[in-house]
Amino acid sequence: MSQEPRLVEVRKNLLKENDVNARALRQRFHEAGVFVVSLVSSPGAGKTTLLEQTLTLLRPRHRVAALVGDLATENDCARLARSGAPVRQITTGTVCHLEAAMVQRGLEGWKLDELDFLFVENVGNLVCPASYDLGESLRFVAVSVTEGEDKPLKYPTIFNTADVALITKIDLAEAVGFDPAAALASVQAVRPGMKVFQVSAKTGQGMTDYLELLETGLLAARGGAVAGRSG
């Protein structure tokens, strides 16, 4: 006998599986004492160049490694390996973002407690990565000066899942007519109080403050409780 449909209350987060995996990763990173930093941006914003410089500059003082997401190639991995740091590629195929489970698989066989910093470079995309927690301690969102000052206004969601914003290729600002003040205003409009660093991996401009933020983060993570992200 058929009855009228009835409504049953359910409360299930659709990304529960990813959230569970991300929580497990965060706990594992905390126990190993590794500070995990992820990087999201649109394609071509300069993530790989920035990361290559970051690894090179941190390596004399810290044990660093990187996981890098890419749709199809291993080119980024080869570039980052030039820094001398251990680097592993996560090739996502057609998947447009990294998920916590991919990071878990990417880490297989690595001894996390032998690391100070682990960097995770997401697939170039400012939309999809916003929904997925990767267990990181700090998430950067990067936009380059060639993308225009209003980029944050177009992608408010990703700016609200990241902790710190980076404006990359700042050495080109004048050449492309980029107005840093307008860009900073855009960031503040979608995320009041967000910290922003203006950097050039090529000339080194702004890199000192940016590296200092990373090292402060590492110290805080080593000294405190599980680094939670506000995002």
């Binding site: 409504l7 049953v8 299930k12 979608v190 109080g193």
Partner: protein, 114 residues
């Protein structure tokens, strides 16, 4: 376009509940926040694909879109944002990053037939 992977996850979660209830699902009620990073239209289209060939085939998605609600530190109350491009209190203009609602991506209910 990550709505397909979210739709696949939705099918898993809903089917698990339906099995537990021993019932057939006709409608799935979702709550999707404006900051969830999900486009409702894309999710609807993806759900049709994701549910095809499963016991959920033919079921309907009812999506309630949740606006962003922030806490205004000056007024000391929650306020609904008037624009995602302007995180400030719509009454007094104080900027605020404190998001109270709008990140939800939740299956809240199932309409079932026994």
């Amino acid at each position: 376009m990550h709505e397909l992977s979210i739709a696949l996850s939705l099918v898993d979660v809903a089917q698990e509940e339906a099995d537990r209830l021993g019932a057939r699902v006709c409608t799935l009620h979702l709550r999707v926040g404006a900051l969830a990073g999900v486009v409702p239209e894309a999710l609807l289209a993806s759900y049709e694909m994701a549910s095809a060939g499963t016991p959920l085939e033919g079921s309907r998605l009812a999506i309630e879109e949740v606006p962003v609600v922030v806490f205004c530190p000056s007024c000391e109350v929650q306020r609904q944002l008037s624009s995602l491009q302007s995180f400030c209190c719509p009454e007094c203009g104080t900027p605020t990053p404190q998001i109270e609602r709008g990140r939800e991506l939740v299956l809240v209910g199932l309409e079932i037939e026994q």
